[in-house]
């Protein structure tokens, strides 16, 4: 099935945060008020009741002076989601069109997904003892609507549609930006981690937007999931089997030489 996704073009974003409010509204999430930290950014990062935020990133450029970069940040809906692999209760699923969604009834708040995620996006919601994240509004999309954030965006920075079509559009836009004062403009999400089901048009390199240039699943998580979990546990049944075998053989051999074990030993 065709992937359906968001394209977020930072060059059009005014950081009005309408998407943040629309997301809260649709998902019926309460306000989370964090103390002022000398930045217009509302929250340090996503949290249990805030699936998406607009980051305000200040960059000092030797030529252009201070640059203020905005970035809508939320779950990237990876094509190959690591969170889904580590979840011990299988509460994370991927829809055919690419949304990675959580069944909160099954979530046990173990945090595995948070630390497996290369972006550390799933966040803990204490009042329900679960971790939460953006759903790509799958319940809206499956009824033919666009996600709440994309629907509300007044400048057209956020669009929703077929990924292939949006990619064509993104390439055009990057070409335009490169020719008009943004030589480092790039697409983010096309190839990262084997493809993300969220596309970004950035006016500069990803590190200027607080995004990892080459995101990777931690080697610790790979070792844990690919080696320890599937194979290591077999040592336990092997030990139990050896003990059961010994239980039988030691008694059979003792019957042949009964004097050996009289009263425990010899």
């Amino acid at each position: 099935m065709l992937k359906m996704t968001n394209l977020y073009d930072v060059s059009k974003c005014t950081a009005c945060r309408g998407c943040q409010v629309a997301c809260k509204d649709w998902n019926q999430l309460p306000a989370v008020i964090e103390p002022f930290t000398g930045n217009y950014q509302t929250h340090e990062t996503t949290n249990g009741d805030t699936y998406t935020i607009v980051k305000f990133i200040e960059q000092i450029d030797d030529v252009k002076g201070i640059q203020w970069n905005f970035l809508k940040f939320q779950c990237m809906h990876c094509f190959d989601p690591e969170c889904m692999k580590v979840c011990p209760t299988d509460c994370i699923k991927q829809t055919e069109w690419g949304a990675v969604i959580k069944d909160y009834d099954k979530c046990i708040g173990c945090h595995y997904c948070t630390y497996a995620c290369p972006f550390e996006i799933p966040q803990y919601r204490k009042r329900q003892d679960i971790t939460t994240k953006c759903t790509l509004c799958y319940e809206r999309v499956e009824e033919g609507l666009t996600p709440a954030c994309a629907r509300t965006c007044p400048t057209g920075a956020l669009q929703f549609g077929e990924r292939e079509e949006l990619l064509i559009q993104a390439r055009e836009r990057v070409k335009f930006l490169k020719a008009n004062g943004f030589p480092n403009a790039t697409i983010y999400g096309e190839k990262e981690l084997g493809g993300l089901n969220k596309l970004y048009v950035l006016t500069d390199t990803p590190d200027k937007f607080d995004l990892p240039v080459d995101p990777k699943v931690s080697g610790n998580i790979g070792f844990w999931q690919n080696w320890v979990q599937p194979y290591f546990g077999w040592l336990i049944p092997v030990t139990l089997g050896a003990s059961a075998l010994s239980f039988v053989t030691s008694r059979l051999l003792a019957n042949k030489a009964p004097a050996h074990t009289e009263g425990g030993h010899e």
Binding site: Y115, F232, G233, T239, S246, R251, L253, G263
Partner: protein, 227 residues
């Protein structure tokens, strides 16, 4: 068929483990097994039935945490109140020598019931020394990685990711040692009397002399003739 040798009160017996050692041992047994079975609900895939015994994943998680705190408390009590005993235990482990190596080399035959002659052993034989080194290390790793996973927000993310596989490896190695230890300390015909050492605190003097000759001579040797 005999499961474990009968407890004989009317024969000369010597103390093997004091009350604190036995309290600590059985306290760890209960809390470790509770943690193990609740934890396996997450470690094994499709182990919902295991979680169901504890009232679902949330119930299993609660039991896991309560048992983990219990295990930590027992560990702390044992370390503080039994400090001298732990030092003595540690000193005996450090006496690892040729007799212990011989024991470990010959032990696989003994394990399956073949009669073997092993050199005299100290308070803990070669295999017990190995268990004494591995199991407590694994329990300490489980406790440390467990609290990191319980309160991930106060630790760096990289440490939490290390804790995930550390907890699993320590669980598997700990469980391997514990299941071997449980079998060898009870139903294995060659070491049956050692069960009473941990259950009642005393073992038959002749068994001690035969199985732990060096320890027996050093601890009770002068009393031997008085009997």
């Amino acid at each position: 068929m005999q499961w474990i040798p009968e407890y004989k009160a009317d024969v000369p017996r010597v103390e093997r483990f004091n009350f604190l050692a036995r309290f600590s041992h059985w306290g760890h047994t209960v809390t470790f097994l509770l943690c193990l079975f609740t934890g396996l609900a997450l470690f094994l895939s499709d182990a919902g039935w295991l979680a169901a015994i504890f009232g679902g994943y949330a119930g299993a998680g609660l039991v896991h945490r309560i048992a983990a705190v219990g295990l930590t408390i027992i560990l702390a009590i044992g370390m503080v109140a039994g400090f001298k005993g732990i030092i003595a235990w540690f000193q005996d482990i450090l006496r690892f020598g040729v007799n212990d190596i011989m024991f470990i080399v010959k032990f696989p035959l003994e394990f399956f019931g073949f009669p073997v002659k092993v050199p005299p052993q100290t308070r803990f034989n070669g295999g017990e020394k190995g268990n004494s080194m591995v199991t407590p290390t694994m329990v300490i790793l489980l406790v440390l990685s467990g609290y990191i996973m319980w309160f991930p927000a106060i630790f760096p993310g990289g440490l939490v990711r290390v804790a995930y596989w550390t907890h699993d490896i320590a669980m598997v190695l700990g469980t391997v040692m514990v299941s071997m230890h449980a079998y060898l300390g009870s139903f294995h015909p060659g070491s049956g009397e050692s069960f009473w050492g941990m259950w009642k605190g005393t073992v038959r003097a002749d068994w001690a002399k035969h199985h732990h000759a060096i320890w027996y001579e050093e601890t009770y040797g002068d009393k031997k003739d008085a009997e």
